[in-house]
Symmetry: C2
Subunit: 227 residues, 2 copies
């Protein structure tokens, strides 16, 4: 790969900011790397009240070494945005590593990049990867050749440390982990349906029911077209 290494994060309206700010924090400590946050037309992207400006235009990027697609509620619209998807396909075709965090893997799948590939996703949508012909894997970080995908939201930090070890070495990944004091100690044990109290899972599923059903219907429709 050329130096500096270029890592592109394609942002879109409704992206979940921690999906990319987590990995960005880790990867920004790579030496000889250029991190690029980009959107269609370079438009400022809002996410849950934060506004990310001075973005580059996805259309103007010639290529990248690493493409990292974040997820979020807006991924459903992003998958249906022809201009955005065209840029994903174009950049992915030249990238050395094609990566995602959370439901960003659904965008990769909708771009036809995950057929027959093992991939991770947010637990709530993991099964839908199969609708695109991908092989859903319930792990924090999933690798299949040059495709590396993380689980939901916070998995992006684990994903990024794994990527640093791949791009440079484990010692650098460990120094970055130490610098970010990443010795997590969640005050509760509720981060995955396998371990969360059943009533917590039921409450969240109930709260998300309408949004979840709508998104699954859209994914079903998109996957039929692209598959």
């Amino acid at each position: 790969m050329k130096k500096p290494l270029t890592i592109v994060f394609p942002l879109y309206p409704g992206v979940t900011q921690l999906d990319f700010t987590g990995p960005w924090q880790v990867l920004s400590r790579l030496p000889d790397a250029q991190l690029i946050a980009a959107s269609i037309g370079g438009k400022t992207i809002g996410s849950e009240g934060l506004h990310f400006s001075s973005l580059q235009s996805l259309e103007n990027l010639v290529d990248c070494d690493v493409l990292c697609v974040p997820g979020g509620g807006g991924c459903t619209d992003a998958m249906q945005d022809a201009d955005f998807m065209q840029q994903i396909k174009r950049l992915a075709s030249k990238a050395t590593y094609i990566t995602s965090v959370c439901t960003g893997s659904l965008i990769l799948a909708a771009a036809g990049l995950l057929k027959g590939k093992r991939a991770g996703c947010h637990w709530m949508y993991l099964d839908t990867l199969a609708w695109f012909g991908a092989v859903p894997v319930s792990e924090r970080v999933v690798r299949d050749g040059n495709i590396i995908s993380g689980g939901g939201v916070t998995a992006g930090i684990d994903f990024a440390l794994t990527l640093v070890a791949e791009l440079v070495d484990e010692a650098l990944a460990q120094r970055i982990q130490l610098g970010l004091e990443y010795a997590p100690a969640p005050p509760f044990n509720a981060g995955h349906p396998d371990v969360a109290p059943p009533e917590i899972v039921n409450q969240l599923m109930s709260n998300m029911a309408a949004q979840r059903e709508e998104r699954r219907q859209v994914i079903a429709d998109i996957s039929q077209i692209s598959f």
Copy 2:
């Protein structure tokens, strides 16, 4: 506390973005809460290549329920910025909870808010809290009355889940944790000097030596003035 609950994040040049984007992601899922990112004059804040715009002016905020000060390399300058520190003192004087992530606690300490109080900080600067008369505690989340402080960078996620349980209840904190799939699985065990391989600790300390000594000198000077 009034509804909506207001949570203010005072940003400054050189802030570490994950120090506030992590907690922001958690707290943005509170019902009836307004999250406010603010800076002196509402100026856009850059952090490791990301640009946060549409910020509110710290000077224009009347008060807040929760003040949450993030850390970062720029905290040394922020502590020496009279305008910024005046706003921290003003907002803290009216806040129900005074909180911080990472070296944000040094800013609280420099504002005279931690005298005799137990507080956390990034491990590399934890001891310097004592220079301001605070009681350094090497824990992920530290509480002393209405002061809640997190450890380095990624501790902000653990901190924010703890805060949600305090502000609302544990069930909501757990639902948010589940939604963010916060079941961390770091690929390495190097997130704190107590567990990292000694050579990793030595390498990082060596890389940071110049910056660390400079910052410690500034902190020593400031703490003599403010103490």
